[in-house]
């Protein structure tokens, strides 16, 4: 059994109840008002067939657990103009997607977002973009991720775009 130690710091000004009500209000705003939905495709490591030497998966070979919808605050960077080869073979790279998600929300859904998982975000009615997690934001010890220094309350997950050849949600 894990040891649990109650957080008692800031006890004269802030408590677990304060923490919970802040989360509740935040979720009300995030889930109710903003309602930014994302779909998490967690890679099924057991079923995904990989290369015996390089552990690479072929097209549509990535198997995933049942997708789970979750809410988060989504910020997508500007796309950048780039080329593969010295100014030739141009492509436009969609910007990274940075998601802020309540830890409580992930816990309620009983999910974890891991490095390499895929996340789908509906760009428009007929366009969904898939991203892969490049920073799962699991370490939340910094002040930014702690509510008034009390304890962590959200994760910042950074994702970058994936091309259709790697993953397309099928």
């Amino acid at each position: 059994m894990e040891n649990k130690l109650p957080i008692t710091r800031l006890g004269k000004f802030f408590s677990q109840d304060d923490f919970d009500i802040n989360i509740q209000m935040g979720e009300e705003y995030l889930h109710g008002d903003l309602n930014m939905k994302l779909v998490l495709y967690r890679v099924d490591k057991n079923k995904t067939g990989t290369d015996s030497v390089y552990a690479e998966a072929g097209k549509d070979d990535i198997k995933y657990l049942p997708p789970i919808e979750f809410n988060g605050l989504v910020k997508i960077d500007e796309p950048k103009n780039a080329t593969y080869k010295n100014g030739i073979l141009r492509y436009q790279e969609p910007g990274n997607m940075v998601i802020s998600v309540y830890i409580k929300h992930l816990n309620e859904l009983n999910i974890d977002v891991r490095y390499g998982d895929y996340i789908g975000y509906q760009d428009s009615e007929d366009k969904v973009r898939f991203y892969t997690v490049v920073n799962d934001g699991k370490i939340t010890s910094d002040n930014k991720h702690k509510m008034f220094g009390f304890k962590p309350h959200y994760r910042t997950i950074t994702c970058t775009i994936v091309q259709e050849g790697e993953f397309r949600g099928v």
């Binding site: 290369d51 390089y54 690479e56 072929g58 097209k59 593969y84 080869k85 010295n86 100014g87 030739i88 073979l89 141009r90 492509y91 436009q92 790279e93 969609p94 990274n96 366009k127 490049v134 920073n135 950074t158 970058t160 775009i161 994936v162 091309q163 259709e164 050849g165 790697e166």
Partner: protein
């Protein structure tokens, strides 16, 4: 010791393992025909764009990789700076955003074309001088002719190509690398551009994969740099000149006259030939080259060179100015000679013993009844004796008494001129 690997992509031998005898020439002709298989006898031009296309074809043909059941596409054209052209070239494998889908292979030529370093063309012929390439028969509806085709030495040029593979799988890199390595196990591989085998050298391999970017999309990007040792052949520089449009065949008929030939051997061999004239001919052949003609007679009467007859030294014929009458006897006294035996064109010879002898004529005017003619020099080889231009016969008309004296066997009239020709 292993057997040297035959260079790839060279089908020099056709479908045979090795060629022998006439097959070699046949195969060469076949190769030449393949170069000139277009609409003229001249080779097709090869310019920069042909070389580029040759490289593109080479990549498409030799570097085919299949991944996930699909062939990795090669961008259809040489990529340049025109943006719309780039878009047009990869639209067939672009995603919804218009970005080219990975994996892909692209061929990019470096804009600079360097002076060629092909060892076989390192020595250049300056001034773009043209050289014979072929003679091509022509027919204008009336007469047969020929054109001479001349071309200058092709110009060597080195073009550098970056063949870039962009992919997301290590195995694709391996496949591509395997193909390249196998193809370039020899120093060079060849691409066939309009029938010409153009060598390509693998210069370097570079990895530019942005895999250190943890926070952005990652892919493999490797660049194989090839140098094509190309040749520029420009049909603007070809020269087509008419050669012979009409051939005039001249045939000389030498009449086969009765001929009598005698050769008097000495330190210098003197040949005397008698030819019977047929009344119309003016050209008389002795059947062998004559270095020096000593005398020409018609019926024993001495003729004068360039007055009565013509002869070019070293030829076998004389031409009389006017046809002698039928059955006239043309007597030609000559020295066949060798170049080594003739010290000059006129009077000096090297005899059989290596001694220099000189042709000399003593002209003696008869002033008395003495039959003895005293000579200026000792006779080495006797040539002829005539009195007032009429040939005299040795033993019948005169005898040689010693090396400096001749005795006439008759008495010529006073004031007659006796010409004694000899070598001393």
């Amino acid at each position: 010791m292993g057997i040297p690997k035959r260079k790839n992509n060279i089908n020099v031998y056709g479908n045979k393992p090795v060629l022998y005898g006439s097959d070699v020439m046949d195969r060469r002709q076949e190769l030449l025909d393949s170069i000139t298989k277009a609409d003229s006898f001249l080779p097709d031009s090869i310019l920069h764009d042909d070389l580029d296309m040759g490289m593109l074809d080479f990549v498409k043909e030799n570097f085919q990789i299949v991944t996930d059941g699909q062939k990795i596409p090669v961008v259809d054209k040489i990529m340049t700076i025109q943006r719309w052209g780039e878009f047009a070239n990869n639209w067939s494998f672009s995603d919804d955003d218009g970005n080219p889908k990975l994996p892909l292979i692209a061929v990019i030529r470096k804009p600079d074309a360097q002076i060629g370093k092909n060892p076989s063309t390192i020595y250049n012929i300056p001034d773009r001088r043209t050289f014979y390439y072929a003679s091509v028969p022509t027919w204008n509806g009336n007469q047969m002719g020929a054109d001479v085709y001349k071309i200058p030495q092709p110009v060597a040029v080195d073009l550098t190509f970056d063949v870039t593979i962009v992919c997301t799988k290590f195995r694709d890199l391996n496949k591509f690398s395997k193909l390249v390595m196998q193809k370039f196990a020899s120093k060079q591989a060849y691409t066939n551009i309009k029938g010409h085998y153009i060598p390509i050298i693998l210069e370097s391999i570079a990895d530019n994969s942005p895999i250190e970017n943890i926070d952005s999309r990652r892919f493999y990007l490797q660049t194989y740099t090839f140098v094509m040792l190309g040749l520029l052949i420009d049909n603007e520089e070809f020269e087509v000149k008419p050669a012979i449009s009409r051939a005039l065949l001249m045939t000389e008929f030498i009449v086969d006259n009765p001929v009598q030939r005698t050769t008097k051997s000495g330190s210098v061999d003197i040949t005397t030939i008698n030819i019977k004239a047929n009344g119309t001919q003016t050209i008389f052949s002795v059947g062998e080259p004559m270095s020096i003609i000593f005398n020409v007679y018609i019926n024993g009467e001495l003729l004068t060179k360039d007055v009565n007859y013509l002869h070019i030294s070293g030829t076998s014929k004389i031409t009389t100015l006017g046809a002698p009458q039928a059955n006239d006897i043309i007597t030609i006294q000559y020295f066949k000679g060798k170049k080594s035996q003739k010290a000059d064109n006129v009077t000096t010879f090297t005899n059989s013993y290596g001694k220099i002898v000189t042709l000399f004529t003593d002209s003696i005017t008869i002033t008395n009844n003495s039959p003895f003619m005293n000579l200026t020099h000792d006779i080495d080889t006797f040539v002829s004796l005539d009195i007032n231009g009429l040939a005299q016969d040795e033993t019948t008309n005169f005898i040689i008494t010693n090396s400096k004296q001749v005795k006439l066997l008759g008495t010529p009239s006073i004031s007659s001129i006796v010409n004694i020709k000899y070598l001393f």
